[in-house]
């Protein structure tokens, strides 16, 4: 893999990192107390669950929401406090907006956006012709094949708003991505990536999000890196961020040349990361720092 090219440096830093981690002997810290995530006073989301059988590195899976400060947590408990909901509103407006040469909107074929219920919970999944597609791919598939409209950029505001609006339809449903059958090879590839060390810091996903969740990373707490809240509203950027953009950022932060959102690598990693959260509720639009 191109990010692992400098073998000598990699081995040296990797050894150093291992020594540091081993000698300090930190371990992951479970959130305490594990409080329920109740939205709008009446919808209780599953924010902790037994880990899926094929994720032996974790006993219990926790939503990233549990690792946030009370003030940040509070923002997600009311749809009029959650700033990500402004993106949902914009996405819902876009849903009924005609675009492209065919004179169609999303609603022309799919009727109300509530018809998308359940879709987000199963993303990403393998299509009939054997491709691993994320929600973004399905949206662009409709736009280019059925609407005669231009594909949206992965990180475009329109795309983030639409994925937010569609995700909200599955809020409260358990994440349930397929990991076997046609998805199997993609899942295995994603798993391999999850445990591979990247970048000059020689960190794998697991080094932070399996070995040290709940521990400090500078002034912040590491989460398990669960994806059930995506797309999330980030306080740092004041906007929505897509899951693959977040994965890009994680790998970049290891000081690696990262993979681009929409790349085959991040599709595989998205599937594996999503599967680690099988059983947690889709949160629609989470709020994270």
């Amino acid at each position: 893999m191109k990010t692992r090219f400098n073998a000598t440096l990699a081995v040296a830093l990797g050894a150093l990192a291992t020594v540091v981690v081993a000698s300090v002997g930190w371990a992951a810290t479970d959130p305490s107390p594990v409080i329920p995530l109740v939205v709008n006073g009446n919808l209780t989301l599953t924010d902790s669950a037994p880990a899926p059988a094929n994720i032996p590195g974790l006993k219990t899976i926790y939503s990233g929401w549990l690792f946030r400060d009370p003030d940040t947590q509070a923002m997600q408990t009311d749809d009029f406090s959650n700033p990500g909901m402004t993106g949902v509103d914009a996405g819902q407006a876009e849903w009924a907006t005609v675009d492209g040469t065919e004179g169609k909107s999303c609603a022309s074929c799919h009727n109300g956006i509530e018809s998308m219920k359940g879709l987000r919970a199963s993303m990403p999944k393998v299509t009939k012709d054997g491709k691993l597609w994320s929600l973004e791919d399905f949206i662009n598939g409709c736009r280019t094949n059925r609407m005669g409209a231009k594909a949206w950029g992965w990180k475009s505001t329109e795309m983030k708003n639409m994925t937010a609006a569609i995700s909200l339809q599955s809020r409260g449903m358990p994440v349930n991505v397929k990991t076997d059958g046609a998805a199997g090879p993609f899942w295995e590839e994603g798993k391999k990536m999850y445990y591979s060390r990247y970048g000059m810091l020689q960190l794998s996903c697991a080094n932070c999000h399996e070995d040290h969740y709940g521990d400090h990373i500078r002034g912040d707490h590491l989460s398990q890196g669960q994806s059930n809240g995506f797309p999330v509203y980030r306080l740092s950027t004041g906007g929505l961020v897509s899951l693959q953009d977040r994965l890009f950022g994680c790998i970049r932060d290891t000081r690696a040349e990262s993979f681009k959102p929409g790349s085959p690598e991040l599709h595989a990693l998205e599937l594996y990361v999503a599967s680690r959260g099988n059983g947690l509720s889709v949160e629609g639009v989470g709020v994270r720092p």
Partner: protein
């Protein structure tokens, strides 16, 4: 503003006369501070919501003057009380001269 600005307002459908209740408002706006630069090093001009007002049947509830230190997608939460049914009017004033408005009716109950 490239994006459509859509206000988001929460007002209870009913309230008892004289009872205090909470209103929440959000609006999608980047609140560009004027302090940042683009990739070519050119300053990005300020563009913020500079004023927000809420009125009930013409009487003011709150009038907020905003500076660039208010976060993107400005959020306000405040209390109101009513003695008769009527309409709340919410207005956001953009540096670019546009205003965005929303209305919510409330009944006594």
């Amino acid at each position: 503003m490239a994006d459509t600005v859509i206000p988001r307002v929460k007002v209870p459908a009913t309230a008892k006369a004289g009872a205090v209740f909470t209103i929440k408002t959000l609006i999608n706006h980047p609140m560009v501070t004027g302090l940042t630069k683009d990739k070519d090093g050119k300053p990005i001009p300020r563009e913020i919501i500079n004023r927000f007002t809420c009125d009930f049947n013409g009487a003011n509830v709150i009038d907020v003057a905003l500076d660039p230190a208010v976060s993107a997608n400005p959020y306000f939460e405040f209390d109101a009380k009513i003695d008769k049914a009527g309409d709340f009017t919410f207005t956001w004033y953009d540096d670019n001269g546009q205003t965005y408005t929303d209305k919510k009716s409330i009944a006594l109950g």
